[in-house]
Amino acid sequence: MSSPAWENKPVLFLLLATAAILVGTIVTMVLPFAWVNTEADRIEGVTPYNPLELAGRDVYIREGCNNCHTQTVRPLVAEVLRYGEYSRSGEFVHDRPHLWGSRRTGPDLARIGGKYPDAWHYQHMAVPTSIVPRSNMPAYAFLSDRGIDPEYTRRKMDVLRFPYEVEQIAGLRGKTEMDAIVAYMQKLGRDLPVQRTAQPVTPPAIAENPFRNDAAAVAEGGALYAQHCAGCHGASLEGGIGPALSPSGFDEDMLFEVIYGGLPEGGMPAYASLGSARVWKMVNFILAPRGI
């Protein structure tokens, strides 16, 4: 059998193989540069990181948070409900490297900014299980013992050509890596004009308390409270990051509204994504001590 020339000519073979590899490379890797990060991608309001946020981002990279957390929300119904508005190219123009990740051992963080108050993050980063008992996220308390080097951070800002004020650099003195990572968390997703979560768009399906005098619902509400609220309001409503919740302070409709829609300014997340039935159960649980 006569063999093709390339089987006997290594140089020819290498040239052919290189050509074969380059076709797909040029089309799918080189060409997209003409589409991505162009004017068409631009989103008003997306700003580079400030020095403290950048330092936090580098802590995120160093600790490999991206091995458990993604930072892209896909345009899928459940995903938008869970994490908020889906991600667009223009949000990432300042990200070198990108931190989209490939695994969700933990939840997506693209829209974490503003979801929780700072205090929540400080406590959660230091001891995640103190807020979410069955979490498997490592504890990062040691970040509080490590300072930020202002001069080094300035150099990073220069390399990335991010704008900054001298005072911002000076302000880094005395800051810890914990301050930085919390600042970075609060920046994520904050530049978008859209709501962090798309949920409140749906009005409550049940506008009236359907569970009055329903002991089973109160028990379920208790379980839901333990899972979603106890981290901030204490296991027995005594308060913590959020205020103490005494049953006497509210009427049931108001309570429903606060839980369903949240108090975004004050650091109280919205729980519309749980659905109105479950929110009503929690309302009944909180009000149970005064008897309904």
Binding site: G64, F92, Y140
Partner: protein, 465 residues
């Protein structure tokens, strides 16, 4: 002796070191598996999951897989070119540089020096070491090929040469970065571009490290083990060229539904499905080479490793294209399903083929018969069972997790919170951790068997080499 004086010493050294790094990879894999069920096993700052997972993948891919391919390329190139290595000195230097690089890589990863890109975590000074290592290796292999004594290049040499170029192009492009300090740099690409370049690299690292090299090994060691040639040369040609052409189009199947332009995603999806053909070209070629030889599955432990290996490759290359379909990706992307896929490839396909090659070489590098074939069989069953438990439990886990993430109640709310889905994963994480221990037991027997071969195996008759 009319045979040229082959350099087997360097092959033996690379085998020893790659096995060592393989054991490290498995031990770290087991540790991070337990960390996922018990976060108290994180020991900050150096030994947390976020720093150890890249150490695991790097030790697995660079230490175990690439280290083994160094050994086997250096062996195969001599046999297939019928001449000794172009430079023994360069090969020896490569061995030192390889181990030095792996050690530096491990230390810097634990210190938190990372570019954060999957399978390209190493910071720029370590990157440079890798580049030098690859150049040294490529020059030696290619010079040996240029000065070969056998006119025609066998299939294995095609896969080997293609992977040398492929890895070089991928690695160089993806490593472009601007240094800030000795161990910190920022990517030359931003955002969506950075992601697209990274997964062009990431997927083709699979092609050029976890597909082409083990195929080179398979095409060489299957005929050597069975004593019958590969079924069809023509099929090998078609499978080779279409494989290396198509792979490069598919990177964006890791980025379906993300902001990467739609047409790039669609091309990736289409080419991923087309990839079934060239992948199965090799699988079918392997199976047909067994015509009339299937009894060897019972009698020849080497064949068992190789045929099971190519079978997992066949499954892997059906499952991969399925994952590249948009609707399926919407479901399983980001879930536990994916580590199930990964480890069928890493533990099933790649490692099984490597075990076979090393068993085949054991008598040649130690000049002794293999110490125990029953132990080799036990090794086979343990790693097979370990890997199956690993992959199957995580596929189930992934489907359950995806189901919980996407479940929506009649009132339009999410049925499950994230934590409810995580808690459901813990039993599967336990299963995975134990499957790792079973796999480790298999590998321990392998190491024991090789060590006993070196020390106690029956010496070979001089003619048998």
């Amino acid at each position: 002796m009319d045979a040229p004086h082959y350099n087997l010493g360097i092959v033996r050294s690379f085998i020893h070191w790659s096995i060592l790094w393989g054991v490290v990879a498995i031990l770290v894999g087991i540790l991070i598996s337990f960390q996922l069920v018990n976060p108290d096993l994180n020991f900050p700052p150096y030994l947390t999951y976020g720093r150890l997972r890249p150490l695991h993948t790097n030790a697995g891919i660079f230490g175990w897989a690439i280290g083994s391919f160094f050994a086997l390329y250096l062996y195969m190139v001599q046999r297939l070119c019928r001449r000794p290595l172009w430079s023994d000195g360069l090969a020896r230097f490569q061995l030192y540089l390889f181990n030095f690089t792996i050690i530096v890589a491990a230390v810097t990863l634990l210190l938190g020096f990372t570019q954060s890109k999957e399978y390209h975590e190493l910071e720029w000074p370590v990157d440079l070491l890798v580049v030098v290592l690859w150049v040294v290796f490529s020059v030696n292999i290619l010079m040996t090929i240029f000065k070969r004594k056998e006119q025609q290049m066998y299939v294995s040499l095609w896969f080997m040469a293609a992977s040398l170029i492929g890895v070089a192009v991928l690695y160089l492009v993806n490593s472009a970065a601007v240094p800030v300090s000795l161990f910190k740099s920022y990517s030359a690409y931003a955002g969506t571009n950075d992601a697209n370049v990274q997964w062009w690299y990431g997927h083709n690292a699979v092609a050029m490290v976890l597909t082409a090299p083990p195929l080179a090994v398979f095409y060489y060691f299957l005929p050597k083990s069975t004593g019958v040639p590969i079924f069809s040369h023509r099929l090998s040609i078609v499978a080779f060229w279409s494989l290396i052409f198509m792979y490069l189009w598919t990177g964006a199947h890791h980025l379906l539904w993300t902001p990467v332009p739609d047409w790039v995603q669609t091309l990736a999806m289409a080419f991923s499905i087309m990839l079934i053909a060239p992948s199965w070209g090799s699988v079918v070629n392997g199976y047909l080479s067994m015509n009339g030889q299937w009894h060897q599955m019972r009698e020849n432990y080497l064949v068992k490793f190789l045929i099971l290996g190519i079978t997992f490759y066949g499954l892997q290359t059906l499952q991969g294209p399925l994952q590249a379909v948009r609707s399926f990706s919407a479901f399983i992307h980001y879930t536990e399903w994916v580590p199930g896929h990964v480890h069928m490839g890493a533990l099933g396909w790649v490692s099984l083929v490597l075990f076979a090659a090393f068993y085949y070489l054991a008598p040649r590098i130690y000049n002794r018969e293999l110490y125990s074939i029953p132990l080799a069989n036990l090794h086979f069953w343990l790693v097979l069972i370990g890997q199956l438990i690993y992959s199957v439990s995580l596929w189930i886990a992934g489907v359950q997790q995806a189901g919980m993430w996407h479940a929506i109640s009649p009132d339009g709310s999410l049925t499950y919170s994230f934590m409810e889905s995580l808690v459901e994963m813990y039993p599967y994480y336990w299963a995975r951790a134990f499957s790792g221990l079973i796999y480790l037991a298999g590998v321990a027997i392998f190491v024991y068997n090789l060590a006993m071969t070196a020390r106690r195996g029956k010496p070979l008759m001089p003619a048998a080499a």
